[in-house]
């Protein structure tokens, strides 16, 4: 790919130690966030429910998506936590699904004709090539509260702002529903509610944080897959957990969004995944659009100057008779 001339102002791109201070908070608490360890997620969706309950998030369409146990689909204006379900034909680490010893072929009991329209009788299809290894991946996705947040950078009203906790929140009394943030998010998180006209996303339970409470999803998580705390501590804990998993024979475990050197300056909410990010619906190498702000303005300025020059030169030459 072409090499980008990146800006060196940390406010726009690159590692940034203290986004809250960068946004003007002088005396502020440490940056907090989520570490979502998907290796212990059991897909109970308690986080989705707790979030809806606490934040009074409206119903997001009662649809059956017909693809897995996931009927939420993806994050959106009225889904601030989303549990993804992925079934794969491979074992989880060295786990034995216990299928190899099971008999294959026709069922032991005689098949019964239920009168259902199907090409063959139930139990009569050969089961041999269906006895495969399998694992379920489950992961609770959430707004990443980026160090360099594309949504915040483009918001023309200042409705989106950086809190003293380093998180990114929409002020609902200011948002005028221009929709720019929706297209600026490299993770496809924030969206506009059709009936309400304003943009909504996870607030990392800003109200609970101000009351010294942990966010509702983390509170409700029964397996501590969702861990809340100061970001520095979470990063240490995640590194330890990754080592543990690698030692335990799960080499596919990896962290996602933990690196302050990545395209968004590191996520406030990061993850431990057991497969490539795109398998979970996450972009493999997200970059905040603001990285290229100076390039964009430079070419825009050149084009504007060219238009002015073209207009002036159109009037040069012959005068009207």
């Amino acid at each position: 790919m072409t090499h980008e001339p990146v800006t060196h102002e940390h406010s726009l791109y690159g590692p940034l130690a203290d986004p809250a201070a960068d946004a003007g908070h002088l005396d502020h608490p440490p940056r907090v966030g989520f570490f979502t360890d998907t290796s212990v997620c059991i897909g109970c969706k308690a986080c989705e429910v707790a979030c809806k309950e606490w934040n009074n998030v409206p119903e997001d369409g009662l649809n059956l998506l017909g693809m897995s146990f996931d009927n939420t689909g993806m994050l959106g204006a009225s889904s601030w936590r989303h549990v993804a379900f992925i079934e794969q034909e491979r074992p989880l680490g060295q786990q034995d699904a216990g299928l190899t010893g099971l008999p294959v072929g026709p069922s032991a009991t005689a098949p019964v004709d239920l009168g259902l329209p199907s090409p063959g009788l139930p139990g009569r299809t050969p089961g041999e090539h269906q006895r495969t290894e399998f694992r379920w991946l489950m992961a609770s996705d959430v707004c990443k509260h980026c160090t360099h947040a594309g949504c915040l950078d483009v918001c023309p009203t200042g409705a989106l702002f950086r809190t003293e906790f380093g998180t990114v929140v929409v002020q609902q009394d200011i948002c005028n529903g221009c929709g720019y943030c929706v297209s600026a998010c490299p993770y496809g998180v924030i969206d506009r509610r059709a009936d309400d006209g304003r943009a909504w996303k996870c607030t990392l339970c800003y109200d609970r944080l101000r009351g010294d409470l942990e966010p509702a999803c983390a509170k409700a998580c029964p397996t501590q897959s969702i861990q809340f705390g100061p970001l520095d501590e979470l990063r240490e804990r995640a590194a330890q957990r990754l080592d543990e998993l690698h030692e335990a024979g799960v080499p596919e475990a990896r962290l996602y969004g933990h690196d302050p050197g990545d395209g968004v300056g590191g996520d406030g909410a990061f993850f431990l995944l057991l497969d490539e990010p795109e398998v979970y619906g996450l972009p493999p190498d997200p970059v905040v659009p603001t990285r290229d702000l100076l390039t964009t303005w430079k070419y825009t300025g050149l084009a504007a100057a060219a238009l002015l020059g073209a207009a002036v030169s159109a009037f040069l030459g012959r005068r009207p008779r």
């Binding site: 790919m1 998506l65 017909g66 693809m67 897995s68 689909g73 993806m74 993804a84 379900f85 992925i86 794969q88 594309g150 950078d153 483009v154 023309p156 009203t157 200011i174 005028n176 529903g177 221009c178 929709g179 720019y180 297209s183 600026a184 998010c185 490299p186 993770y187 496809g188 969206d191 509610r193 309400d196 006209g197 304003r198 943009a199 497969d275 490539e276 795109e278 398998v279 979970y280 619906g281 972009p283 493999p284 190498d285 997200p286 659009p289 290229d292 964009t296 070419y299 825009t300 300025g301 050149l302 084009a303 504007a304 238009l307 207009a311 030169s313 159109a314 009037f315 005068r319 009207p320």
Partner: protein
């Protein structure tokens, strides 16, 4: 959801051309072998823009207004009263339509004024709002002066307005290049792969389109004798627009496909045909025949509309198919892995 991903395994790789043909490509020879990528049931990674037809329509009317204001100011300074009048009135009318389109597209139109709470260089929409505000003042005054009824011309407010018209028109012309170009920055400053990757070319496509449409409208409204600058501006504008468009299509990345396939391709091909036709007539027959000038002007206006909708459609398409996100980002990671 689309039926596309419903029966596919969650992590099933599939060809990045999005087709459901067998992977051996038996029906059609592809020049580039389809890249395989993984996704979450084929579902999109990004959110599609919430903007509807009003936003690309505004890109057209805003550009048209800017092009008209530039021609009006030039005509004012070089003694072409009919071209001046056409430019000022055309500029004001398209500005009023623009204002309606912009406010109506908001989720909360009554809160439009919240745009004026802040000025943010990192938000092209914020920068554009301020440019448009400054431009609107000049364009409004200059346009009002053209609409002044003869009975009011001698009154004190009438004389004041007529005196203010030239500085106001020049002021509008000073901000017009900004009005014409910031919309390209607005699209480029998004995560939509097709828009973001075209950040170097889109500004030239958009200012070119503004020049072509401004020239086209003036060719329709002003007599042939005064419309020389409009014809020349249109020719230069179409040239910039077509060169910029072709450069976008020559990008090596997968994002290019969003421009060269589907509805975006059809819209942009039609835009190019209208633009080339309009330009050819503008440079030849339109110098003598008003009928030809009107026909060329209409073609140029149509070309500009289709160009805006075509580039808009490309960006929308690039958010709806995960291949535009996953494949280029995977390539980037692979390239980084090779250098490290």
């Amino acid at each position: 959801m689309t039926g596309d991903g419903s029966r596919r395994p969650a992590d099933g790789s599939r060809p990045a051309d999005g087709s459901r043909r067998p992977a051996d490509g038996s029906r059609e020879q592809l020049t580039v072998p389809p890249a395989r990528f993984r996704s979450y049931y084929g579902r999109p990674v990004l959110k599609p823009p919430v903007w509807e037809w009003r936003i690309p329509a505004y890109f057209f009317t805003g550009g048209l207004s800017a092009g008209s204001a530039l021609l009006a100011a030039g005509a004012d300074l070089t003694g072409r009263p009919a071209l001046r009048r056409a430019g000022r009135l055309g500029g004001l009318a398209s500005l009023l339509v623009s204002a309606y389109l912009l406010v109506a597209d908001l989720g909360r139109p009554a809160r439009f004024v919240n745009m004026l709470r802040v000025a943010k260089p990192s938000s092209p929409m914020s920068v554009g709002t301020w440019i448009l505000t400054a431009y609107g003042a000049g364009s409004g005054l200059a346009g009002a002066a053209e609409l002044l009824p003869p009975s009011l011309r001698a009154t004190a407010p009438g004389r004041l307005l007529r005196a203010a018209a030239r500085p106001a028109g020049l002021g509008a012309a000073a901000f017009a290049p900004g009005v014409a170009s910031y919309t390209a920055a607005l699209l480029a400053q998004t995560a939509a792969p097709a828009w973001h990757e075209a950040r170097r070319e889109l500004p030239f496509v958009y200012t070119g389109s503004a020049a072509a449409s401004g020239g086209g409208l003036a060719m329709i409204l002003a007599p042939v004798a005064e419309a020389g600058p409009a014809r020349r501006l249109a020719v230069v504008g179409v040239t910039a627009e077509i060169v910029g468009s072709r450069l976008i299509e020559r990008h090596p990345g997968l994002e290019t496909q969003a421009y060269t396939t589907g509805r975006a391709r059809r819209l942009r091909r039609a835009a190019e045909c209208l633009n080339l036709g309009g330009m050819a007539v503008a440079a030849t027959l339109a110098r003598r025949s008003r009928v030809a000038a009107v026909a060329a002007g209409l073609a140029l206006l149509g070309g500009s509309v289709l160009q805006r909708f075509g580039t808009f459609e490309a960006g929308v398409a690039s958010t709806k198919d995960p291949k535009y996100v996953v494949v280029p980002q995977r390539e980037r990671l692979a390239a980084r892995g090779r250098t490290e």
